[in-house]
Symmetry: C2
Subunit: 341 residues, 2 copies
DNA sequence: CTGAAAGCGCTAACAC
DNA sequence: GTGTTAGCGCTTTCAG
């Protein structure tokens, strides 16, 4: 087997405990022996065994990251690698490792989480999505296991540390923008209503309409899986009305791509015939045609902040529950235009 | 602390070793005691401590996944979540966990790998990219640490287990398709030549041209970061020739998006003015406009196979080095058309 | 300042 | 079939 702390101890003529202290840079060790021990470590090519260490200190220096169950095509959404990048960079900086669960179906996802929690694999967890009545989140809460949520909790908001954008506000601002451009018939296309982010964005939309005294037309509000053809019917229907929308607020960049594509098949051009606004500011929203007017939600920063909050909590058990709101910024591009009729 | 194997042993009136045997479902334990022990575990809410187990068996049941250093925008490429999904599903099935390194810069990436390897954090590693003279791969080879590569090794091919498509063939086929469509002036746009996949696809392109007796025009071969504006100059130049290309073989779907976008800004339409073929068949290649004629490289399967190969290797130390070639399939869509002039 | 020794929770001979 | 007993490699009192 590999070289252990004992080998180093022997070579440096000290006790294993001394070596251990050198590793953790304990100030009570004389510089002389420190130097000697380090030299021995060097020569032997010693590297501490993390497992043994973790067992002894009952911690793992690892955090678990839970993606939504991959049944959904959602995983192809570049949102995830991007948060991961943020989380990863913070983890690196603080010496934590990343354990990732990519899901499978809901049951498997849950199993993975149990393994992480019960098996002492990770010290804390970051949940990359928020939906109502999520069994995993309920489990984490029940077990009092440290975790932070990326997104807004469906309930028990005050008891859960989470990192989110102000999606209601962002959506409201975006809708107001459309209104300023002269649009009145504005539709909302969102994904599954299970996700809190979807309903938040819907709320913002409604608020803006109400504030502008535009009646809310329930027929203009559609929830569907727009990535697949199933969404086509919905879009077709939307434009079969005698007074179809002149603008659409779409809840996600990937979805927008799909919607624009469907529209084109129906002979409806964006932005000429209909303006589209979107969310997330994925890299591709800039290079798609038309480039998307979209809300930059700062995905990377969501990752950074969530990792930061979790790690703070792990270091100080009594760290208070907190909410971190990452600012958003609207990117004005070419998928919207003023209504001139 | 949590409930341990001893607690269960006591409660079930057996020795800890018996409990351990029940956990691993050792056939030498009578069904009666098995039942009794399981009941005790149930009642106590016992879950084995993975760290302790790992320490005892000197293994971690975890595999490390190394992404390219995230300096590159490449991480926003949905390729990664998709392989991850494949790897994850295989890992789940076999009881392995996933450790992910998201990079940071090259140095940090390397550090992470060392931590994984030396710290005994993972049993094996999957490298998600292949480039020439990659220090990480060299390190892994030198340390004789079990790993598999997604992509083709730059050298020492016979000593490294890897999972890849036949990119040369795929590229050749695609180029032939363009030739059949009547194109003669075909350009190749690829990413950094560091990546083996880039050069493989270039090779296939060249082979097809040569086979068709079309001289290779070096001015038609461009390597650049097409995601950013830097690529624009290259594209502009390409179309400033008196005889510009009528078709372009682009090495990646995301890149194709960017290229089509640039072309449009130059007033060049796809497929009317220029045909474009692409690689990867990301989900978005179907919903972009025009939808992309692209090579489906079966990303998910690349993930599955790489995990499978690694795990086989981990289970049998003497498992031979192997090469797995995942089949590709060309998806014919709307970014290409026959040349009629 | 440093050493000795007792664990952390589990597995794996080796007995019986 | 099941119990006993050493470890796995590291940390951490407690002495000195």
């Amino acid at each position: 087997m590999a070289v252990t702390i004992k080998d180093v101890a022997k070579k440096a003529n000290v006790a294993p405990s001394t070596v251990s202290r050198v590793i953790s840079d304990n100030p009570r060790i004389s510089d002389a022996t420190k130097k000697r021990v380090r030299k021995a470590m060097e020569e032997l090519g010693y590297h501490p065994n993390v497992n043994a260490r973790n067992l002894a200190i009952r911690s793992t220096q690892a955090i678990g990251v839970i993606m939504p169950s991959s049944a959904e095509t959602s995983l192809q959404n570049p949102f995830f690698p991007e948060v991961l990048r943020g989380i990863g960079s913070m983890a690196l900086e603080t010496g934590y490792s990343l354990y990732v669960s990519t899901g499978g179906d809901d049951t498997q996802s849950f199993e993975e989480v149990k393994r992480m929690v019960y098996g002492n694999r990770v010290d804390g967890i970051i949940l990359l999505y928020s939906r109502r009545n999520d069994p995993i989140m309920n489990f984490l809460v029940k077990e009092k296991f440290p975790f932070v949520l990326v997104g807004k909790p469906y309930k028990k908001e005050s008891q859960i540390t989470y990192v989110d954008n102000d999606n209601i506000q962002a959506s409201k601002k975006m809708t107001e923008h459309l209104i300023e451009l002269g649009h009145r018939r504005i539709a909302y296309l969102g994904g599954t209503t299970d996700l809190v982010v979807t309903t938040d964005r819907l709320d913002g939309y409604k608020q803006a309409l109400s504030a502008a005294n535009i009646p809310i037309n329930e027929k203009f509000i559609i929830h569907d899986e727009f990535l697949r053809s199933s969404g086509r019917k919905a879009v077709e229907k939307l434009f079969s009305f005698s007074e179809p929308p002149t603008a659409i607020l779409v809840a996600d960049d990937m979805m927008s791509l799909g919607v624009i594509n469907m529209l084109e098949e129906l002979g409806i051009e964006c932005p000429e015939d209909v303006s589209i606004t979107s969310f997330n500011n994925l890299y591709l929203s800039e290079i798609t045609r038309p480039s998307l007017t979209t809300v930059d939600i700062n995905i990377y920063s969501l990752g950074i902040q969530s990792a930061k909050s979790l790690i703070e909590r792990l270091k100080a058990k009594d760290e208070p529950v907190k909410r971190v709101i990452v600012p958003f910024e609207i990117k004005y591009r070419n998928s919207t235009r003023a209504l001139t009729e």
